[in-house]
């Protein structure tokens, strides 16, 4: 009975993995073969790179890549600054109404970002940031999840270290920068991971708030490239998709071990 249970565990895991990866595998298959070969699943048909060339020439991909890259960078920097300061305040400082404000921040976790799209749109327009990278990134910078994560990480820092730094002459921001931030490194890494992959893949909000190829990130560019009015060529679209996800995918494959460790360490603390 126990052996059967083990078998079912492994079987289930493998089944899930196959289901999970099959779209990616199919995209890879389609991108490297001509359309008719791909659709008819001719296993021994010749491989080709033409689809990538066609896709690359079909849209300003380089611009999209740069846009997505700057978008996730801007968001991450903004998040690090806000999340560090807010997390530190909630973890180590005393101020009136602290608990109430913290609950307000946590309530953000219950609200789907999609619900706020109209409100965010109005705000970004008022700020004159419509159709800019900063405008796309701004609504996500004050992340409740990040604030909570950092608060927990900072709370785990022994108070003696804080006091020792105080005696050695550090001001509050000095202590934050020299003691808390370095000690929370694993948490920052784990958080950066979640943030980058989320915003690399984010689609709906950038679609609404960007208007030109100058600011459009990859996801929006890809969907416009694959829109029916441009004619559906499954192989070319697959090639474009692979190109879009490749940087993230390669980074994950290379840093797999570090990522898992970062999460584990952040969890243990």
């Amino acid at each position: 009975m126990k052996r059967f249970g083990n078998f079912m565990d492994s079987f289930g895991a493998i089944l899930l993995a196959v289901i999970w990866i099959s779209p990616l595998l199919f995209a890879f298959w389609a991108a490297t073969h001509s359309t008719s070969d791909a659709v008819n699943l001719r296993l021994f048909s010749p491989w080709t790179m033409d689809n990538f060339i066609v896709a690359w020439n079909g849209a300003p991909w380089l611009k999209y890549f740069i846009n997505t890259f700057s978008l996730v960078t801007v968001i991450l920097i903004g998040q690090f600054i806000l999340v560090t300061l807010a997390g530190f305040a909630f973890a180590q400082l005393q101020f009136p109404g602290k608990d109430f404000v913290f609950i307000l921040v946590l309530m953000q976790l219950f609200i789907l970002p999609e619900v706020l799209i109209v409100e965010n749109y109005a705000m970004v327009s008022r700020l004159g940031l419509f159709d800019t990278i900063l405008g796309v990134g701004m609504p996500y910078m004050a992340s409740a999840f990040g604030i909570f994560l950092m608060r927990q990480a900072f709370k785990g820092v022994p108070i003696e270290l804080h006091e020792a730094a105080r005696i050695e002459g550090c001001g509050l921001l000095g202590i934050l920068w020299r003691v808390y931030v370095p000690l929370a490194k694993p948490t920052y890494l784990a958080y950066a991971l979640v943030s980058v992959s989320t915003h690399w893949n984010n689609f709906l909000w950038p679609l609404i708030v960007t208007n030109s190829p100058e600011t459009r990130p990859l996801t929006v560019g890809l969907s416009i490239f694959g829109a029916p009015e441009n004619g559906v060529d499954i192989s070319v679209i697959s090639a474009a998709t692979l190109m879009s996800v490749a940087p993230l995918l390669i980074a994950f494959l290379i840093f797999q071990r570090q990522f898992v460790q970062a999460f584990l360490r952040a969890g243990i603390k």
Partner: protein, 341 residues
């Protein structure tokens, strides 16, 4: 050089939500001295040290360091260093970075930093360990890193919060000597918190014994040992502690008085010649002598020392005697009665 005490604490009180922290602490500490704050846990000795360090602010009273009123100054403005019980080394920094942390914060030029670092590591015997992380060091080495960090800036006042309590007994003895030597060589003023009376007695010039947030007695170790102010001091200081006999058990004293006597002043005498007859409860061989615990209806903590290996069977009764000049007399409230005959 300023006149008057280097550190002065005047009528300082600190309370937490009505609970007592410390109350009415008045203390003068001369420059270059070694002062131990001694007491059982929860007596307020650490609170006193934290008030002095500026990690807590007093509700009442004033604190002066080097003639300056620092009562409300930030910890960083008090020009002192501190050694924590847990050492509080920064785990992400190497030994060298830990030691120069404060110098870096205070923007001391690099060359001077190097020089001071070298000297501090030399004094603490840590040369060659510069690049290790605290996690790769033994407890004793970590302790020395904490000491190096405390002396590197050349602050004249150094506070230590039970720095030896995380070391094993053997190491503790040697580090105790090292700290004492360091303090003498550098001429710094040390305020040292401990619950271990042996540590306090062996290291300090002045011992401050505290209980329940109040100072019980301030004085050199021999004074606390020979002239305890009250029964609490008598029972806390010394190993073995002073035995207390109620006046009911002895003739010639007023009712309600209590009499203290040290083990070394008690002699065992043949049956019938002693002033008290006691039952032996335990024999403890200490090496050069044997400590024999005694039980008597009117006494607590009674014991006697016999030289060499001299175990005595438990349950036997023996007679003991002592002279009145060795007796410490305390009144009903436990205070010492000064005039003795």
């Amino acid at each position: 050089m300023t006149t008057g005490p280097f550190v002065a604490i005047k009528d300082v009180a600190k309370r937490w939500n009505g609970q007592l922290g410390v109350e009415g602490i008045t203390l003068d500490i001369p420059e270059g001295s070694f002062t131990a704050l001694l007491g059982p846990s929860g007596c307020g000795k650490s609170t006193t040290l934290r008030l002095l360090a500026g990690l807590e602010l007093p509700d009442e009273g004033k604190i002066f360091i080097d003639g300056k009123d620092v009562t409300t100054s930030a910890a960083s403005d008090r020009n002192l260093s501190m050694v924590f019980q847990s050492y509080a080394l920064f785990p992400h920094l190497s030994v060298a970075e830990n030691v120069v942390f404060g110098l870096k914060v205070r923007r001391v030029p690099k060359l001077e930093r190097q020089k001071k670092l070298h000297r501090a590591l030399e004094i603490t015997g840590l040369l060659g360990y510069e690049d290790r992380k605290p996690g790769e060091l033994s407890g004793g080495q970590r302790q020395r890193v904490a000491l190096a960090r405390a002396i590197v800036a050349g602050q004249r006042l150094c506070l230590m919060d039970e720095p030896l309590s995380n070391l094993d007994a053997k190491l503790r003895n040697s580090v105790r000597k090292d700290i004492k030597k360091l303090q003498r060589d550098l001429g710094i003023t040390v305020v040292y918190v401990t619950h271990d009376q042996t540590e306090a007695m062996s290291m300090a010039d002045t011992v401050v014994l505290m209980k329940d947030g109040h100072i019980q007695q301030v004085g050199p170790p021999e004074e606390l040992y020979n002239k305890p102010n009250n029964t609490f001091v008598a029972e806390f200081v010394g190993a073995p502690a002073m035995a207390l006999i109620s006046s009911d058990g002895l003739s010639g004293f007023e009712a309600g008085q209590r009499l203290g006597i040290r083990a070394e002043n008690i002699q065992i005498v043949p049956k019938g010649e002693g002033r008290l007859t006691c039952t032996i409860t335990e024999s403890e061989f200490l090496g050069s002598e044997t400590l024999i615990g005694l039980d008597h209806a009117h006494a607590t903590g009674l014991c006697v020392l016999k030289s060499g290996m001299a175990l005595m069977p438990e349950g036997d009764t023996i007679d003991i005697t002592f002279t009145d000049e060795h007796l410490h007399v305390f009144d009903a409230s436990g205070q010492r009665i000064a005039t003795q005959t």
